[in-house]
């Protein structure tokens, strides 16, 4: 689906990403992992064209820099972590905006398909009861689900998530990731997500890209990448031991 070739980003003299190349196929859930400042979010920003880059990014053979924003939005959906809305739009209005790239014509009226896709997105994310509520009154979890519904309504083939579970309670983390897991199982879909939590990466990802100082430290299937050796090299600590210690707190309490 997506092919990234020699992606390089720098802010001034500071090199953020150095010659990154990878690709993702339909059915895969690629986890971008690595310590702070490794360049995970910058990859997302480059794909969403939020930062200037050199190198090339292809979606199904077409160079992204040749694509119009609406063309791109019909294929790639992006869910970011920060949402601050200034006005009291309703949940439904925000979700319906996901259909923007699909509407055509000068005074584009919404089609039957727009309505169906919006309803479906509201339903699967559990936002149907809150559809007429102002987004200013939502909790963090509800707001994140609203934007997930928006990106579902957008109906892309590739979903890109930048720390989708940040600031979310455990229950919402679980809900959100399970929703995405169901979504990606339909044919021709793929997910790329930036995650900090290695547990979540291992539980939900099929593949991973371990980044370190803007370079790829390891790439491949999730089990190949998240090995003790790789993680220790990147995080400069025994990650496996740490994870075991964390878990043992709970197991000893149980006994």
């Amino acid at each position: 689906m997506l092919e990234v070739k020699n992606l390089t980003v720098h802010f001034g003299s500071l090199m953020i990403l150095d010659q990154i190349s990878f690709q993702i196929k339909a059915g895969q859930w690629l986890m971008l992992v690595g310590p702070n400042g490794a360049g995970k979010s910058t990859i997302v920003n480059a794909i969403s064209r939020g930062v200037p880059y050199s190198g090339a990014i292809f979606f199904e053979g077409t160079d992204l820099s040749d694509c119009k924003p609406a063309y791109l939005a019909r294929r790639i959906g992006i869910l970011t972590q920060n949402h601050s809305i200034g006005y009291s739009f309703t949940v439904e209005e925000v979700v319906r905006l996901g259909r923007y790239a699909h509407s055509t014509g000068l005074f584009s009226a919404s089609s039957h398909e727009d309505t169906v896709k919006t309803e479906h997105a509201l339903e699967v994310t559990g936002m149907l009861p809150l559809r007429n509520q102002s987004v200013l009154t939502l909790s963090g979890g509800e707001l994140q689900r609203t934007f997930l519904a928006q990106v579902f309504a957008q109906d892309p083939k590739l979903l890109i998530l930048d720390e989708p579970t940040n600031h979310l309670d455990l229950i919402y983390q679980k809900q959100l990731l399970e929703l995405i897991q169901t979504w990606v199982q339909e044919t021709g879909r793929g997910v790329i997500s930036v995650v900090h939590d290695l547990n979540l990466a291992k539980a939900y990802g099929s593949d991973a890209l371990l980044l370190h100082h803007g370079k790829i430290a390891s790439a491949g299937s999730i089990d190949q990448v998240l090995t003790p050796e790789h993680l220790e090299a990147v995080y400069s600590m025994d990650v496996y031991q740490w994870m075991r210690d964390m878990l043992s707190q709970w197991t000893t309490q149980q006994e």
Binding site: R49, A70, L97, Y100, L106
Partner: protein
């Protein structure tokens, strides 16, 4: 829980139109001389259908003074409100407006420059002033936004207010500077500065109407995109809005419309701030309802403000900007405090 349909219903449009027309009629009838509604209607009918107007005082007052004035005021109110509304959506800030940001005063600089240097198009009297006002409105908007983005990319309320204050002061000092070096053009500049919608001609009516038809349609066309911007610029990009293109087009349309209004009626502060805010409270923030509704409410508001300016100290007449600024200051403080508190 209030629910809104996506667009205004036909009946809602009819109601808005009815209120607008009634307000217009009231404003034409009432003034230094009160004229009965029946006489007013018959004179308006004669004027619009091209028949000769009855040759008495009230006929002349209505046909040549009040009708053009009220129409001009209504159109300017609609235009300025629409511009304010578009800017508040685009910048995602309820305090953005031509007058708070300094776009209107930037337009005045252009107009004064045109008069001082005698920039004009032969045969079209106002064209030079107007073109310069439009150009300077656009340049001001570009400068203000470039400065604000450098300071903070999210364009917070504080940034907008500070940049606006600085730019307004800068513009007025530039105008003073031009005036002091203008020599024999001083008279023309002062005459323009003193000018208002009070002495509008039929030509002025057609000019604003033309501008509103062209640029207003452009702004209305981008209602969906403005919704996306109002939710967030990053989100707008993610759902497929051509962010740069839309921003540029809306900014051009807004500056052109403000430029036309300023060159004809001078700076009328706060209209674009008060009206969208109040209208948003009633119809919600969706620009597909909000933009058309502000057109009507802006017209109604400015006509009433003009009426107030005419009759409150009768026979003395206030500048319309005095009325809008007094109301506007209170609304500004109200918005500023409520949005601050919300954080």
């Amino acid at each position: 829980m209030k629910t809104h349909s996506l667009i205004l219903k036909l009946s809602q449009y009819a109601l808005l139109l009815l209120v607008t027309l009634c307000t217009a009629l009231l404003c034409i009838c009432v003034g230094s001389v009160n004229i009965p509604a029946k006489d007013t209607l018959s004179v308006i009918w004669d004027t619009l259908s091209g028949q000769p107007v009855e040759e008495n005082v009230s006929g002349a007052v209505i046909a040549f003074v009040r009708l053009p004035r009220v129409l001009c005021v209504a159109l300017a109110g609609a235009s300025l409100s629409l511009c304010g509304c578009a800017m508040q959506g685009l910048l995602r800030n309820p305090l953005a407006d031509g007058s708070t940001l300094g776009v209107s005063s930037g337009a005045s600089v252009g107009a004064v420059l045109a008069i001082a240097f005698g920039i004009s198009v032969p045969g079209v009297p106002l064209a030079g002033t107007m073109a310069m006002a439009m150009l300077f409105a656009f340049l001001s908007l570009m400068i203000i936004l470039a400065l604000s983005y450098r300071l903070d990319a999210s364009l917070s309320t504080n940034t907008i207010i500070l940049i606006g204050i600085v730019f307004n002061m800068f513009s007025s000092s530039v105008i003073s500077l031009i005036t002091s070096f203008a020599g024999d053009k001083v008279k023309d500049i002062v005459f323009w500065t003193m000018g208002s919608l009070a002495d509008s001609s039929v030509t002025d009516v057609w000019t604003i109407l033309g501008a509103l038809l062209i640029f207003g349609t452009v702004i209305l066309r981008y209602a969906k995109e403005l919704n996306a911007f109002a939710i967030g610029e990053d989100n707008a990009r993610n759902v497929g809005v051509d962010v740069k293109k839309v921003k540029l087009i809306v900014m051009i349309a807004v500056s052109a419309l403000i430029g036309v209004c300023v060159s004809i009626g001078g700076v009328i502060g706060f209209v674009g701030l008060i009206i969208p805010h109040m209208t948003r409270m009633i119809v919600g923030p969706n620009h597909r309802r909000l933009l058309p509704a502000t057109l009507f409410s802006g017209a109604i508001f400015l006509m009433l403000a003009d009426l107030l300016a005419r009759i409150i100290l009768k026979p003395l007449e206030l500048h319309i900007g005095v009325v809008t600024s007094v109301i506007g200051s209170f609304v500004f403080i109200f918005i500023f405090y409520t949005t601050r508190k919300a954080k």
